[in-house]
Symmetry: C2
Subunit: 173 residues, 2 copies
DNA sequence: CGATTACTTCAGTCAAAACAGAAATGAGTG
DNA sequence: CACTCATTTCTGTTTTGACTGAAGTAATCG
């Protein structure tokens, strides 16, 4: 693996995007690098390629592993750790969405359920407000359920579904 | 509008979530407050309810307006500005997704197209890497196209589609 | 077992972003 | 056309969290 202008552009952009998706720059850059790399990379290679501190790579990889986005491999007669990410874009997507559900949707769902209950008991709360809470709860519950069902669907099916686009709506009356 | 424990919980949680979605706490809190409020609110009311500086409300509302999430209204014989957000959750969702597409998907698409082109011209880049770039490009292009088609679909249809869940897959062979 | 190599943890530094308060602008009103 | 009220802009402070470098731990090898 070597840095070319195009790869550098990709990695830098991905890092920037990462900061908008709740993770930090280095974490996203490492993921991008591993995605583009033909083979697994060692931590010290990543240090070289990205010009970041060794410690930074260590903690970033730990984070990626905790997401299930990166796994460790080894080479015979080499005690250093090698890392690789998922290479199928749908797999990547699925894992990321799953993480976001766990970290954002689930807590929000819990909060909304509690709020819907609490707010109903509050005499001094406007009925309109109560309905708004309930509507939001229904929406988030809906997306949550939908995700649960959809996340087992194989990549090939999802690709076809996506190609269908708006055509899908003709199946609902 | 008055703060009750349940409403406070909602607003605080929404603020926390906002920080994970690329905006700051106050912006998200204001949006939550406006969503729950039976009627439009004035800036000074928001200052009171959230205990934040007046200037903070001003800039946060400006941001929300730029997203298309909040609009200004007025009362007869009152020159102060009143604000309200969208009340339909699907509308909210649509606007937010649209913003994210503009701010994240489009730039990424541009980068990937450029990269796919550049990387093809680089002799010293592994063919595997070239394919990875192309796969990612196809995926992002796919989601972008899909979004373009789907974002006109009315809320009621989307609700039905969501209820269908995995049942939708039986329509693709 | 010391020395070397690989990796992790920790404490301090730095930069970016959020926010408050003050000053400035603008828009009605008497 | 001063004066007041509403809002915005600007500047300085505070907070947050990403990152580095150093110290620490663990494993392997001569």
């Amino acid at each position: 693996m070597q840095m070319t202008p195009a790869i550098e552009k990709y990695v830098l952009h991905w890092g920037e995007m990462g900061t908008r998706w709740g993770t930090n720059r280095t974490v996203a850059q490492i993921q991008a690098l591993l995605y583009l790399s033909p083979g697994p990379l060692r931590a010290d290679e990543i240090v070289e390629l990205l010009s970041v501190a060794r410690s930074n790579v260590s903690t970033s990889i730990r984070e990626l592993q905790s997401y299930g986005l990166v796994k460790m491999t080894h080479m015979l007669g080499d005690r250093r750790d090698y890392f690789e990410t998922l290479y199928d874009v749908w797999d990547l997507f699925r894992v990321i969405i799953h993480q976001r559900k766990e970290r954002e949707l689930n807590p929000t769902l819990a909060m909304l359920r509690q709020c819907a209950e609490d707010v109903d008991a509050e005499k001094d709360t406007d009925p309109v407000t109560k309905e708004r809470v309930r509507n939001m709860l229904n929406f988030v519950e809906g997306t949550s359920d939908w995700y649960e069902k959809i996340h087992e669907v194989p990549s090939s099916t999802l690709t076809k579904l996506m190609k269908l686009g708006v055509g899908i709506t003709k199946f609902v009356k």
